[in-house]
Symmetry: C2
Subunit: 348 residues, 2 copies
Amino acid sequence: MIRISLDLMGGDFGPEVVIPGAAKALERHPSVSFVMFGQQEKCAPILAQYPALREKSVFHHCEIAVGMDEKPSQALRRGRYKSSMWKAIEAVKAKEADVAVSAGNTGALMAMSLFCLRTMANIERPALAGIWPTLKGESIVLDVGATIGADAQQLLDFAVMGGAMARALFEIERPMVGLLNVGVEEVKGQEEVKEAGRLIREAGLDTINYYGFVEGDDLGRGTVDVVVTEGFTGNVALKTAEGTARQIAEYLRAAMSRTLLARLGYLLAKEAFDRLREKMDPRKVNGAVFLGLNGIVIKSHGGTDAEGFAAAIDVGYDMARNGLTQKIENDLKEYHARHSSSAGPEAA
Amino acid sequence: MIRISLDLMGGDFGPEVVIPGAAKALERHPSVSFVMFGQQEKCAPILAQYPALREKSVFHHCEIAVGMDEKPSQALRRGRYKSSMWKAIEAVKAKEADVAVSAGNTGALMAMSLFCLRTMANIERPALAGIWPTLKGESIVLDVGATIGADAQQLLDFAVMGGAMARALFEIERPMVGLLNVGVEEVKGQEEVKEAGRLIREAGLDTINYYGFVEGDDLGRGTVDVVVTEGFTGNVALKTAEGTARQIAEYLRAAMSRTLLARLGYLLAKEAFDRLREKMDPRKVNGAVFLGLNGIVIKSHGGTDAEGFAAAIDVGYDMARNGLTQKIENDLKEYHARHSSSAGPEAA
């Protein structure tokens, strides 16, 4: 039985989206139970509308809700130990939940998760791993914005952690891992990326299959199962892809409403368009995972709806069910046992 | 009258694409003349098929053609002073042409352009500026891969140069310029980007309108006229957008051929789909510009066809006609006159 802790106050709409989202997720995973944190007066009336969910949930009142615009330092000062976001994470630490899900602001969620759960041994920095829809299915891309910059050793850690997540999520034994670079020749690119390629090759990891360098257009192609990059580039790539998808959807909408014939064609092909819309629906791939912490925390888009939040819970469910944290710990242990001299600079 | 020098041997298909491309461009700009460089035995038979073009062109035989996979250092060693690529660039230096266009490999073209034309005063590094289709029209994005990494002063130079290009290409008096970052709050992002934002603000440039930070999804939205970033991130963003566009086109194709009704709808709306295809056609926005050199060099995609190559010539034509080099020089001069203490570290 998987237990999920929820920050009901996170996101642009708080409990109005989080609670219906949890209800949807419960329909798909009836064995799940929830630990919920939020402001009583706002949450109780909504929760009352979902009796099946209420029955599988324990609700805890929290006075403080972290604002979507609060800086991490400010959120920590105001919300540590007592906000709904903190409490949801703390439930994972206290083993009262297997995974925490929040649609709260990324910086605050990252700071609180780091402060509360701490990084795993030998991991200096956590990464935020996103799920990327591809022509072949889905890939994992990390870091999509937890921290700016990464040295070669950190990129190697990302490769190991991303590999473990791919094994947990896609159930592939030895996922194909690539390093994001410009140009595929060994001579190009940033020094850290080149060095990381050398480190990963030399490490000869059993848990992943190192592919080499990939480029921006390999993301949508699904060339590899896991794409590793530092948080600045990963975040720009993610948002660029989202922006491009919206841009093309807008072109398509405009093209299809321009003439009578186009509108008629649209009506006939409506089912196909609906299918396409579903394929391009960003809600379906909502739910990024903080990797490298002693516990699983899922970040949902702040502006998503109930369907999107339910997708984030689905990701958390899969991660917990497949023992993500344990997989990462084992993979890191195996690597560091073999390469004890090259352990990260800050063992937690 | 604009004179354009062409590297006939560049690109995956060499003269088979470059010559028909030039013929197309000539139809659009009948006053243009060409200086062409390539291997006589390969080029002459193709050129013979385009009598109108041949009449407006001077052809020079070059024994050496730079390979698409040659490393910059290798290309320089083998092709300096004598390859078709070098000769096309040299024609700009010798004032025999106003702009050079090549579909040859980016690294070699960059190295040869730098070596032959040298950077402008106060410019340490050139940038490759791409034209990005947006919901509002087009934007300029730089650097899309000339060099990896950029410090704050270089990002400021990119802003000035990109602004000058926007004035030349879009004929906007004071283009809106944004710095690519993650998150729009002043606190986030790389140190260089933050510092560049401060420098640009303080510079109080008359030639551009500084917008502030933009994110990946602002690229397709067309939030600003010029997006400034260093070459690694810019290249990843560009290729990610191209990959996403291809991915969605593939989804659309699959959706529209799945059922009889969808196929019928597609036929009815065919004109709309053609229009969409044209909107998404990467050939239409082919032609990136090396900025910061004492002369204009246009890089065409290596894999493009005649239509695409003609688009790259169009960009060169516009840049030359609107006096890009002069605009950049003036804008840089104005900036450096006012901020003589903060001049770039390597005045050429």
